[in-house]
Symmetry: C2
Subunit: 512 residues, 2 copies
């Protein structure tokens, strides 16, 4: 039934309210792809890449180092284990990959914030891992737990970030062996979005999972994915103990894992794009297969992080076209495997939140979104090749992520969207300002950017001639000022506090 | 036959040389699409858009104002002409569109610079039309003929710009009725890339064509497209005399025309994306059909310029997702018509060359390139909703356009690209630095940005901690410093000088 004009106006207002309030934490955005997938290579080309991956799995093999249990698991599966080298029948690996769910839900403590990972969904999370932070006021400096907590609260406040991420910056003022406790505590108490736990040691992974258990209850953990870990492959072709233990810890507890080949082409992988993608595919498939040996059906994401390098200095480069192509390729390959995939992000090598940062981040994130990435770590806040979390960058990227929601949603062509009746009160040479069709659709028609200035030169000058980074600085401060941590059962807060205190007291501080 | 390693290295070196020299004017870049097209809407959806376009052509009609000859041409074709309103049988319009070439060459006076318009080619041209210019040294000011000449020389020096464009800035220090003479003179003498002539009055269009005739010879003009005009539709649904006369002038001389509906949604067209695209399609198809009535087979480009608006102020916005979607849609529709299309560009509402400008330009240009646009005006240099040509913006955009060449070229999956032999000298856990595969491919492996800084924070700080805009400022100055206008037969220069002098002397200056 076609809605009446009044109904359309009401729905328009409602949509506009949702849109305009989008940056506030009371709102939930969903990135749902309604446009077709972009397959950038022919079937023949992707089959050639798959064949190369299969050769790597079968002939070269993947090493699982310093983890006897991992090797035992592989041996029991029938793989050829020679020292730490594991050679696997590619067909068996594919059969194991097929046991993993093609889509799953990571539950948040607020059910409205639970995210669907896989299929047409895209889940955006902030940058992961930088030891430094940068803001306009204080410049570049080591991250602290104060920064970390602020970044978790900002991420909570930004509606286009669906996920709280993990190490949004390293809290370098806390001991290395205890900071995971404060990070998970912050994710659970300052936000109600889903998050990533620690993976840097077996005990830290287990602590993270235990804290999720306190928040969600032991019973939920048996049936639901409430926490995930993100592990890097030590490319080329090596799973370190840290990675295989984290897979065992998370999947063993029926929780999720993201397995990420980290390939800087020409260093940790071949210098040509198809070869780097083939290696990354082999590595990720091996990890996914391993996760299914640990627990069949465990939720897992096929990861990928490919970067190019400067031909002049060998420094890693970001936002470059080879990485964009690899995003598209890995998406195509992941869909053939029926697995959710992680790729890309708003990546840049720039030191500042300048035009370079924005061009590179946009080109990178565009290819990420168009490629169909299901889980996007580093979707906001990344600066300086991942060494720095930028406060202004976080909110600027988040604004563009909100725009990408509209792109992914595609175009309606119903009679209203087509304007079939739009010319009844508009003549050629006239205009649509105030016409019936405009009034019925105006409020929800266009993406409303929080940070782009579209005013005239004169208005902008009167407003202080602020550039985008200055406006972003004002915005993150306003968001923080307005932010209220979401409510949480005091008994759970107490139990978390108690767990953290007990763990901190149980051993000496370690600083590296 | 598979090339030997030595042949691959040689080719690698040659490619690297081409790449590294890309920013110099002695080199020619070609944007050739090898990746598949992206069809963002279902067949059913595009058929609904086409049906709406057909309704506009047949029921509402298009006005051709103040041009009796245009109305006579339509009347002779069998269209229903009522006053200035022309209602056309949509099937006839499509048949006329089918007479236009699906691809054609715009010849440059240097044959190496001739561009292929249509099919898998993308042709990038600088911004068109701004009355103002901006650079870091002097800020924002009215454009002059000095600026214009500098911008033509910079465009000539930038290898990722295939085309010299038209009004790269308005030379506001010259009389309105004579500045076209100096602009065409500059395009013909300071550059050897193809260019656009004037369209603002019949006589100026004819002057432009006459100057091309001087440079190319009358005989060439009969067989070859050597100059094009770019005309805007006065949307909604009106061709002003300026537009229809320009079509008659250019196509009548067998030269090319780009026909561009200029739709700011909610003002010159409906506020919903599908409706705005349907209107733009009807307008452009009407113009293309008219060009074929003027001269069957005349080279023509189906244009499109769609922008959204700020819901708060009504100001036009750029780089927004609705415009990105319209780029994809118009590409899909143009391919169904078999016509080359113009769309998009590196568009922004930002006043400065800041992060906003870069995010918006990249998102806009990404959708432009991925949509398969064949001719892209405003591909570089656009600022402030098209009111300002930015010197730094021009070179920054051009650097990202160079990157897009690599994206469009796609991925090779031959044995070398797949790295089939790459693991013969690289063990798991080792690295590819200096490996045989890396050495054979390194020099051509990655896009080499002229303006992105990928160095460490420490190196960058030692180098003066320059942001991208400061580096761009240095770059355009260095390019101008090094630029030599390409050689031109002195007899032609003299004839052009003479023509310009004669025309200038023939009437009084007009300033508006």
């Amino acid at each position: 039934m076609t809605p009446t004009a009044a109904e359309r106006r009401r729905e328009g207002r409602a949509r506009r309210t949702r849109r305009k309030n989008a940056p506030e934490s009371s709102e939930v955005m969903r990135a749902h792809r309604a446009i077709p997938y972009v397959d950038i290579a022919s079937n023949e080309a992707v089959e050639r890449i798959e064949a190369q991956s299969d050769r790597l799995l079968e002939e070269v093999g993947i090493e699982y180092r310093d983890d006897a249990r991992a090797l035992a698991i592989w041996r029991e599966s029938g793989a050829d284990v020679e020292g730490t080298r594991v050679r696997m029948d590619a067909r068996t690996v594919r059969e194991l990959c097929a046991q993993a769910p093609s889509e799953f839900v990571q539950h948040a403590r607020n059910p409205d914030r639970s995210v669907h990972i896989g299929g047409p969904s895209a889940v955006f999370a902030p940058v992961y891992g930088p030891p430094f932070v940068r803001c306009l006021d204080k410049g570049r400096r080591y991250g602290t737990i104060d920064d970390f907590q602020r970044l978790v609260r900002l991420t909570h406040a930004l509606a286009s970030l669906h996920h709280s991420g993990g190490v949004t910056c390293e809290p370098c003022d806390l001991p290395v062996n205890k900071r995971h406790l404060d990070m998970v505590h912050a994710h659970l108490t300052l936000s109600d979005k889903p998050f990533l736990g620690s993976i840097t040691a077996m005990e830290r992974a287990e602590d993270s999972i235990e804290m999720a258990r306190i928040a969600f209850g032991a019973k939920r953990m048996e049936s639901d994915c409430t926490i995930m870990g993100n592990v890097n492959v030590n490319s080329p072709l090596v799973f370190d103990r840290v990675a295989s233990e984290a897979i065992r810890a998370y999947c063993g507890a029926n929780q999720g894992i993201v397995i990420v080949p980290f390939v800087l082409g020409g260093a940790m992988g071949p210098v040509t794009t198809a070869a780097a993608v083939a290696q990354a595919l082999a590595e990720a498939m091996s990890g996914v297969a391993f996760s299914q040996l640990v627990r069949p059906g465990a939720p897992v994401v096929l990861g990928n992080f490919l970067s190019s390098m400067s031909l002049r200095s060998g420094a890693p480069t970001f936002g470059m076209p080879e990485a964009a192509l690899s995003n598209y390729l890995i998406g195509q390959l992941a869909r053939r495997l029926g697995l959710p995939f992680r790729s890309g992000g708003s990546l840049t090598a720039s030191k500042l939140c300048d035009a370079q940062a924005a061009y590179e981040s946009a080109d990178s994130m565009n290819a990420t979104a168009m490629a169909g990435a299901n889980f996007v770590l580093h979707a906001a806040g990344w600066l300086e090749a991942g060494l720095v979390t930028g406060y202004e960058k976080l909110v600027l990227d988040a604004d563009r992520l909100a725009a990408l929601h509209v792109l992914l949603a595609g175009v309606s062509t119903d009679d209203n969207a087509l304007g079939v009746h739009a010319y009844e009160d508009v003549e050629p040479g006239s205009h649509f300002l105030g016409s019936a069709h405009t009034m019925a659709n105006y409020e929800s028609a266009y993406f409303d950017s929080a940070l782009s200035d579209s005013e005239s030169f004169e208005s902008w000058t009167e407003g202080g001639a602020k550039d985008a980074t200055v406006r972003a600085n004002e915005r993150w401060k306003a968001l923080l000022e307005a932010h209220e941590p979401p409510p949480l059962d005091p008994a759970i807060v107490e139990a978390l506090d108690d767990f953290v205190a007990r763990k901190k007291a149980s051993c000496a501080d370690a600083w590296h």
